[in-house]
Subunit: 244 residues, 2 copies
DNA sequence: TATTATTGTGTCGTATTGACACATTGTAAA
DNA sequence: TTTACAATGTGTCAATACGACACAATAATA
């Protein structure tokens, strides 16, 4: 890693949300030789936009390019990284000795959250630092380094909040999905049961769903309608500030 | 300025909103020897939290301590500062020669916005860099350095958005105010006319206003009731995420 | 063919919201 | 002293949105 081209004391961490088996999941890296996990992240080159670098991290980790990605908070507490952290990374050979100085800095970390379609993410390649990359259930996160738990929690809070004003799902669901699947997504993110019939009414009122005319068969019981998002109207709704 | 204790490449900019004469205003610094203005801001010491430093900036500029202050965006475009900016500052003797190196860096700037009560801000002291500090009308901003216009605009956008979910006014209005004044504040921020009677109903429904029993006299026409905020209920409303 | 769980659809009462009208009041003009 | 005026306090009405709830349709399974 060529650290001298990076802006010092500054890092990016991405909370990548996916949805699978009615479960909200977060993309996490398992550190080598250590029973800890971390968020995919990186540093910012002097000659790159910060947002650009975040997109790059996502592309490298998910293979996806056109991703829903938002900054949500700068984590800037002075003691967010314990003094022993870099030393431990060196001791356990997670990073090489010559990188210790770089990792021993104080870091401000800009948190991004991303919404991606679980199935479209190519099985990501581990990198020199991590031995594995996995979708971990949001509800039972493993042990995370530094303040990454806080970052994930704050990302989730923000996502919950945004959910009220923005349609969400386009980036988390496959191209075609049932109303129940969409509802399950909302229920999972909000961690709250919603009334099936009222939910349907509300979603249809948004006028962002297209009935594909198809149905999902094979699932036993009545075959549900498959919907897709009307991209154009979806984007319009994202723009609009239909409030007050 | 002792720059070697600062985190490099990183700055803070604060958009301080005030409300006066039915007008939204922003606190701006006039640069010495240059017909440009800038946002009050600063740098972050290695041994301070970022948020702490933002609070410090506000305290120094407004004399206020317990301020409504929120991070809202990190401005991280690689070319946000023109290459000639630092040189110009030196040439015009805004900063001394030895600071040129510091100001010649690439900077990421974390934007904060603050809501303060216009009248409570002590007439702020200019500093070595600025020759004046003024409340400028948001609607007719002067020429600002770097991307500070963007920062102000984005802060305003965020404020507008937050206005829909959070009561605002406690920090922008004097302790006692009329319903019309509160409405004028909302109309100014939202840049939109609101129905007087519906606005009143909505505000009273929030149950955060206390009728002080007093009236404002002398203003010609019927004397309006003076309200104050019920701090406790106000804070409760700020916490609650009464959505979906 | 009957069962069953899931899905599509609708109703009903209530709360919220937008549009609008009228009576009240305090100062300034007559 | 009276009157005019303009802003304020209060209320109505219809349209809409929302929460709680019931029933019919359907497709695999038994």
């Amino acid at each position: 890693m060529q650290t001298d081209n990076f802006i010092p004391c500054f890092s990016i961490d991405c909370v990548v949300f996916g949805f699978h088996n009615n479960e909200l999941r977060v993309l996490l890296l398992k550190l080598k030789n250590l029973d800890k996990w971390m968020l995919p992240g990186g540093f910012v080159s002097y000659d790159k936009d910060v947002d650009e670098e975040a997109i790059k991290v996502l592309r490298e980790r998910t293979g996806l390019d056109d991703i829903f990605l938002r900054q949500f908070h700068l984590f800037g507490k002075k003691d967010r990284i314990s003094k022993s952290h870099a030393q431990e990374m060196v001791d356990k050979k997670v990073i090489s000795e010559d990188l210790k100085k770089w990792f021993d800095q104080r870091f401000l970390s800009l948190g991004y959250y991303a919404l991606v379609e679980y199935s479209k993410v190519k099985k990501p390649e581990p990198d020199p630092v991590s031995e594995a990359i996995e979708w971990c259930p949001f509800s039972e996160l493993p042990d995370l380094v530094i303040d990454h738990v806080d970052i994930v929690q704050k990302a989730h809070q923000r996502l919950k909040k945004e959910l009220n004003f923005q349609p969400i799902g386009l980036n988390l669901l496959p191209d075609e999905f049932t109303m129940s699947e969409l509802q399950a997504l909302y229920e999972t993110i909000l961690n709250k049961q919603l009334d099936r019939r009222n939910f349907r009414r509300k979603m249809l009122a948004f006028d962002i769903l297209k009935n594909t005319g198809k149905k999902r068969t094979g699932n036993a019981h009545k075959s549900p309608i498959l919907y897709s998002f009307d991209q154009e109207k979806y984007q319009q709704l994202l723009q609009a500030d239909h409030l007050f």
